[in-house]
Symmetry: C2
């Protein structure tokens, strides 16, 4: 542990949070952790670090608290619930909010926490569990200068790339949900295009080869249609994540009455997939909403 490093805590040890906690530990921080599953915190601490029973106990010991929970509601419970961070944090501490949320909600938390003498960093993350654990994930952040000053050492140690997008909360979450808008529509249209190819009798592997070398390519087409070709719907990111995230996008735009025709259509497709029973499968399973096609099978994929 480096004497000049701030004391840091990570709340939420899911795939991303656990990776972040490990990255911070390997960068020399004494990392406090807390999770609703006490055994997850204990397992982390057994290799170094401190398991805390509640967010309040963690906040009492740390000047920078990194929240990697699922959504706004869980953040509210962590902050303001019984044994929450806000009531126990040391004055001048900083809350780093890494969840994908409605930007207007994030803006409101900055105001609320500032009024309590606490700093706030709007800091959604991107890149997946493997990059979180290797310190290579991306953060889309915005915060007041004092908040950055307090949290910079932690932010720089957490991620390979920290985008600084503005001097108050909001811009980080806005860019994050715009990325999710694109990602969600790209997955849904990749499925639509592959489904049309199957309907028309085009060889799926040949179609994948041509598209990934043409102007019709996207990061998501290349990544997710490989899952379809392999008939592997193990959830790296699930259909229900895009039911949630495209919902956040639409909520945000609705607040200013702004039309999003493609995001709205893709959201309907993910909801159709979820209700049809594929909510916990990989998001590429949105292709299963298309009738009248035969998807590649696992038998074909593993000769």
């Amino acid at each position: 542990m480096h004497a000049a490093l701030p004391s840091v805590g990570v709340i939420g040890l899911g795939a991303m949070g656990l990776g972040i906690a490990k990255t911070l530990r390997s960068n020399g921080f004494l990392v406090h952790v807390c999770d609703v599953r006490a055994e997850a915190a204990a397992a982390f601490a057994s290799e170094g670090g401190v398991a805390c029973a509640t967010p309040a106990a963690l906040a009492a010991a740390c000047t920078v608290v990194v929240s990697v929970v699922v959504n706004a509601a869980q953040n509210e419970a962590v902050l303001y619930g019984a044994d929450g961070v806000a009531g126990a944090a040391q004055p001048g501490s900083t809350y780093v909010m890494c969840s994908t949320v409605d930007p207007n909600w994030s803006i409101a938390q900055e105001t609320r926490l500032n009024a309590m003498g606490l700093h706030y960093v709007d800091a959604p993350i991107s890149g997946g569990a493997a990059k979180a654990a290797s310190g290579q994930m991306t953060m889309m952040t915005s915060a007041k200068p004092q908040a950055y000053a307090a949290a910079d050492a932690v932010l720089n140690a957490m991620a390979g790339k920290v985008y600084r997008l503005g001097d108050q909360a909001g811009a980080g979450s806005k860019v994050k949900i715009i990325n999710q808008l694109l990602a969600g529509v790209h997955i849904a249209v990749a499925a639509e295009a592959m489904a049309l190819g199957l309907r028309e009798g085009v060889d799926a592997a040949a179609l994948y080869e041509v598209i990934t070398h043409s102007a019709g390519n996207s990061w998501m087409f290349e990544n997710r249609m490989a899952h379809v070709l392999a008939a592997d719907y193990t959830p790296l990111s699930a259909v229900d994540i895009f039911v949630k995230d495209l919902g956040l996008v639409l909520d945000t735009a609705r607040a200013s009455k702004f039309p999003l025709p493609l995001a709205a259509t893709a959201h309907q497709m993910f909801m159709q997939a979820s209700t049809a029973g594929y909510g916990r499968e990989d998001d590429s399973a949105v292709i299963k909403i298309f009738p009248g096609i035969t998807l590649p099978s696992a038998q074909e994929a593993t000769p």
Copy 2:
């Protein structure tokens, strides 16, 4: 001119056809050309090659005829109209059809020309005018083995990459329109995402920087949103091209009653842009359908 090379003709000297004719000439072919603008053919021939007054005159002199006209209707005029190719072609000649068309139409032409003793290659092209002129464009082809045998030397000389996708007409055009489905939706959703960012007060250049380094990226977002940031709507490919191409995609799917929710939505967006007066602008001008935002201006782009 190499003695073993087939005599080749190019019909349609637009941006793509002229580039193809030049590429074939620089690869040693004696290239016959024909265009409804006689001066375009004469200008090409003044630097080498033979200008022909009609498709029939060209077909009488060439065993491989490459058609680079705009659509199926122009191909029908070139083939079956007065002074058309079909009535004048030497037996065993090959028609290489490079337009983006309804695959079912392309399949029908193979049948019709085969019955007249002519070969047919379904051969849509991709990559833009610069790549056509440098021999680096991509071709998405399918044809019967005899047609490939007759045209291979020409195909290989025309393009940097020739995908061979099946042993009869149809697969080439199917893969091409699926690429256009993806390209069109990606342009429209790039515009939708950038418009939301502008509506929400996000810095457009920062948004572009983050997205092009994130999982929300697509080939089209990266290429076309650079036009929006520069406020440069000079048409490299026009809004009306996607009114046409997404229309072909929807026509093809409708023939087998197959739903394409995102392609249908994007098609409506391009039609809205066209009717609003932006049909001949760059396809990125689809962003102009979004109300309540201020797009980057040319003044900002050139300080």
